[in-house]
């Protein structure tokens, strides 16, 4: 992508002063509302007692409590990480309430608090309809406890286990004990250790040998109660030859204080298994001045444990005040494949430091990274990636492409790719470009009667096409819409 250095045309200068644009600039976060439901929370603070209480509230077995305590003790010894290109305000871990669950736990979807369902309606995700129409099973997590799970039966017939993590701990302890923490160990990093100690709930997926999951699995995470950190824990296991596509989408209501979200996602793909994990993340990014917004510190890692397995990450990140997230693949099995497709958009004072790690261990392993960063306003957007080829990774192959698009003069776009190669038969390639939206392209669109905002939106859409193509259909539509909304007021 090339850039022209000529001055902007006069038309755009007049547009800059356009009142409509100014109005769009000030538009408020559309999903910003708070549902009033009584919540049953633990008092703020973090200690071994709190963790024991949390574990007891969730009726967990002894081994789980011990697992959490072990992680907590390790976390205490760890320093907060500061290597990312992020400006993070101090986090007071003692001011956070580590558990909030809606009172009166419903037994089925019909018993779900109508107000809660209303919330989903506002977001445009009517649980039943959407599930039926789209053929998607939704395990909606509202604050920290699963409230409704659909399509359980159909999945059960196929032998698929799709339930909340708490349920899995109670009903499938052997699977949880075998796989939990096997990809992201409790002491892996600061936020993963914290998550291991206090994780509230999350999704558990188990696809048995040879089963192709009959539908796309989806979860909507929302953060609702104020002062509640959300510590999701997701574990997906695909046995030999299994296939699953998992969708994760997020929106959160408007809050003024920074909220911490430290999730851990673990994927395990055994021989010939395939896992496709897609995310659309649209948490509250804070206002124009950088007040409020979610801190999104996530550890996502997939382990291609078996030969010929494949893990594919696709993400569209438009929300959160701060994003710190590196979905990774450990390519252990021979000929295993890792993929990472990402669109990260930052506006106003958002900060994102995101990317991936591809660790090539097995023979003939392949990885592909496509990252598109868009920065506007006063935001900072970094790609940070590691491609590591170990000695035994005979014939490993990597291709990385990172492109950054700058909209405005006060934002930053950065690229930090690390390449470490120890095998002479490996081929590792990295390409990156940074540019602004070309005046030529803009002029072309404008000369054909397309408004400036629409033109920018079209160009950005084209810029991201390579990634959107990888998203499941309904997500692709949502992602495109999200980008449009997020970029409003960025041009001019």
């Amino acid at each position: 992508m090339t850039t022209e250095t000529t001055d902007r045309s006069d038309t755009s200068a007049t547009l800059r002063d356009n009142a409509e644009v100014a109005a769009a600039l000030g538009r408020r976060y559309e999903a910003g509302f708070v549902t009033d439901i009584e919540t049953d929370s633990l008092p703020p603070g973090l200690s071994e007692d709190i963790i024991r209480q949390l574990s007891a509230l969730k009726q967990e077995p002894e081994w789980m409590t011990e697992w959490r305590l072990k992680a907590y003790r390790h976390w205490l010894t760890m320093p907060e990480p500061h290597w990312a290109k992020l400006n993070i305000g101090a986090i007071d871990f003692q001011a956070i309430s580590y558990y909030a669950s809606p009172k009166n736990k419903p037994k089925s979807l019909d018993e779900v608090d109508p107000k809660l369902l209303e919330t989903y309606d506002k977001l445009g995700v009517p649980l039943h309809e959407r599930a039926k129409l789209a053929g998607v099973a939704v395990d909606a997590v509202f604050d920290s406890v699963s409230v409704g799970t659909t399509f359980r039966k159909e999945l059960a017939e196929a032998g698929v286990i799709f339930c909340s993590m708490s349920e899995a701990i109670r009903e499938h302890p052997e699977l949880v004990q075998k796989y939990l923490g096997s990809v992201v160990p409790t002491g892996d990093n600061y936020f993963a250790a914290l998550n291991s100690a206090v994780f509230s709930d999350g999704s558990f997926v188990f696809i048995p040998r040879g089963v192709r999951c009959p539908m796309e699995l989806s979860t909507y995470f929302r953060i609702n109660a104020g002062h509640t950190g959300q510590f999701e824990r997701t574990l997906i296991i695909a046995e030999e030859g299994a296939y699953v596509s998992y969708l994760e989408g997020c929106t959160a209501p408007m809050r003024d204080e920074n909220q911490l979200h430290a999730a851990v996602v673990e994927l395990v793909a055994l021989e010939k298994a395939q896992i496709k994990y897609s995310t659309v993340q649209n948490w509250y990014p804070g206002d124009e001045n950088g007040v409020g917004g979610i801190y999104n510190f996530v550890t996502k890692r997939g382990d291609c444990r078996g030969d010929d397995s494949k893990i594919s990450w696709t993400q569209v990140e438009t929300g959160s005040a701060i994003t710190w997230k590196y979905p990774s693949c450990v390519l252990r099995g021979d000929r295993s494949v890792g993929e990472f497709y990402s669109v990260a958009l930052t506006h106003h004072r958002q900060q994102a430091d995101t990317g991936t790690k591809m660790i090539h261990l097995g023979k003939g392993t392949k990885s592909k990274i496509v990252s598109k960063g868009i920065s506007a306003g006063r935001s900072s957007n970094s790609y940070r990636g590691l491609v590591k080829v170990e000695k035994g990774a005979e014939g490993a192959r990597n291709y990385t492409q990172c492109d950054s698009l700058l909209i405005g003069k006060k934002c930053g776009a950065h690229t930090f790719p690390y390449m470490e190669v120890k095998n002479p038969t490996a081929i590792v390639e990295h390409e990156a470009t940074t540019s602004k939206i070309s005046d030529d392209q803009l002029f072309y669109c404008r000369s054909r009667g397309i408004g400036e905002e629409d033109a920018v939106s079209m160009i950005v859409d084209g810029f991201c096409k390579q990634v959107f193509r990888e998203l499941p259909m309904e997500f692709a539509v949502e992602a495109k819409k999200l980008l449009e909304v997020s970029l409003e007021g960025a041009v001019g």
Partner: protein, 439 residues
């Protein structure tokens, strides 16, 4: 760092500082700067691999070594005259042996008009004030241990100035000889190069070995190019196979200044080269070209950082690396486009050949962009020779080893294509070929 934690390396250099009779001692500001840098060096010691700038270069083994404080016999050591001449380089020359200036080997009589060239030790005997700015520098970054050490212990080096609008036709030759001595030595050199407005200069920096030794050499170079100045700078690094060499170059380019730097890294056991350039003036341009060819257990780490700070600045960098046997090549190429540096055009390419299962390449091209009217791109690859090209050559009757050598040479040679000194380019080609694995 408490006394107990001091490594033998730090100990030996502290002892050296205590004994040293450095040129210029007695000048108040210089003594103070030397003392403060020494304190900073001792307090922090050598960086470990948790410091980002040293992530791929471990200094633990170096930390256990001791170095004698300079060579008392440096002025009498025999140096092969052939080793310190280069084809196409016939201008004035300054020669240093184990960090000590050798007037007998240098050529400084009849300097061309506008060129001032003398060793730092002599410059300090005269009016030291013009050197004050450069020599008072403090190095505060966590990874700057060697620059601190150098600031504390360097007493000699090159002071080179070109008067405004002067064009130096001949190529100036700076030679640094590491000569075999009774033990392992440490030497520290400080260079100051300034090209006045509209001045032009060709400079060759030449590191060469005379006999087997395992010395430590550190050197810090400040280069300033005033408005419209032009510098062509070639570095041939062919130090002794056992030596440790740490070079720290800072370059500033004012308005319309242009610099081209060509680097060929062949020798040394542990080599670190920092090249920091700031494009401070509008329309300034920098071209960097570099190759490293490694074998044995060589470890070469190049850290380049280019900062675009003004309008319409351009940088173009092409680096190639070849690592064979148990060697390790590290390259970091960071490009920063600061806010307001509109119209900047930056490109960087780092391509590497990994020829052995025990060798390693770590490369990290970086972009940090804070302006939107820019064109910035980088590319990096690590791989091996193209099978089809090899097949093509073999199908024409060229044996495998020779075909490999030809392709590897071609891979590296592209870097020197833009060098306009034909005789020197040919010589560098020869040196390169001689170092290539299968030749």
């Amino acid at each position: 760092m408490s006394e107990a934690q001091r490594t033998p390396f730090v100990e030996s250099l502290l002892e050296a500082a205590a004994q040293a009779q450095l040129p210029g001692s007695g000048i108040g500001w210089l003594d103070a700067a030397r003392r403060e840098n020494l304190d900073a060096f001792v307090a922090a010691g050598l960086p470990d691999t948790r410091v980002e700038a040293w992530k791929y270069t471990a200094l633990r083994a170096l930390g256990q070594r001791r170095f004698a404080p300079g060579d008392a016999q440096a002025t009498t050591r025999a140096v092969d005259a052939a080793a310190i001449t280069l084809p196409g380089v016939d201008g004035p020359a300054l020669v240093f042996v184990n960090g000590v200036f050798r007037a007998d080997l240098s050529r400084v009589d009849a300097l061309p008009a506008g060129l001032s060239l003398q060793p730092l030790s002599q410059a300090l005997q005269g009016d030291a004030e013009p050197l004050r700015f450069a020599l008072s520098r403090h190095y505060r970054e966590g990874g700057d241990a060697f620059a601190r050490l150098n600031a504390a212990l360097s007493g000699d080096g090159v002071v080179l100035r070109v008067a405004p609008h002067a064009t130096v036709a001949q190529t100036v030759h700076l030679v640094f000889v590491g000569a075999a001595a009774e033990g392992d030595l440490a030497w520290h050199m400080r260079h100051i190069v300034e090209l006045g407005e509209g001045a032009e200069l060709s400079l060759v920096e030449h590191h060469v070995a005379s006999g087997e030794q395992q010395h430590l050499g550190t050197q810090v170079t400040d280069i300033a190019l005033r408005k419209g100045a032009r510098l062509r700078w070639v570095t041939l690094q062919d130090a002794s196979a056992g030596s440790t060499l740490v070079r720290h170059d800072s370059m500033q380019l004012d308005e319309d200044a242009q610099a081209a730097s060509h680097v060929l890294e062949l020798g040394g056991a542990l080599v670190r080269h920092d090249l920091h350039a700031t494009l401070a003036g509008d329309r300034s341009r920098l071209e960097t070209r570099g190759v490293f060819v490694l074998n044995g257990r060589q470890h070469v780490d190049t850290q380049m950082a280019i900062r675009h700070q003004a309008l319409g600045t351009a940088s173009d960098s092409v680096w190639r690396g070849v690592a064979d046997q148990r060697s390790r090549g590290v390259f970091r190429g960071a490009i920063v486009v600061a806010q307001g540096a509109d119209g900047s055009d930056a490109s960087l390419s780092s391509k590497n050949l990994l020829l052995s299962g025990q060798a390693e390449i770590d490369t990290k091209p970086e972009l940090e962009i804070y302006a939107d009217e820019v064109k910035a791109a980088h590319g990096a690859t690590v791989g091996q020779l193209d099978e089809r090209s090899l097949f093509y050559l073999r199908s024409r009757g060229i044996p495998l080893a020779e075909a490999r050598a030809m392709l590897t040479a071609a891979f590296c040679r592209a870097v020197f294509a833009s060098l306009d000194n034909d005789a020197l380019r040919e010589h560098l080609d020869h040196q390169l070929m001689a170092h290539l694995p299968s030749a």
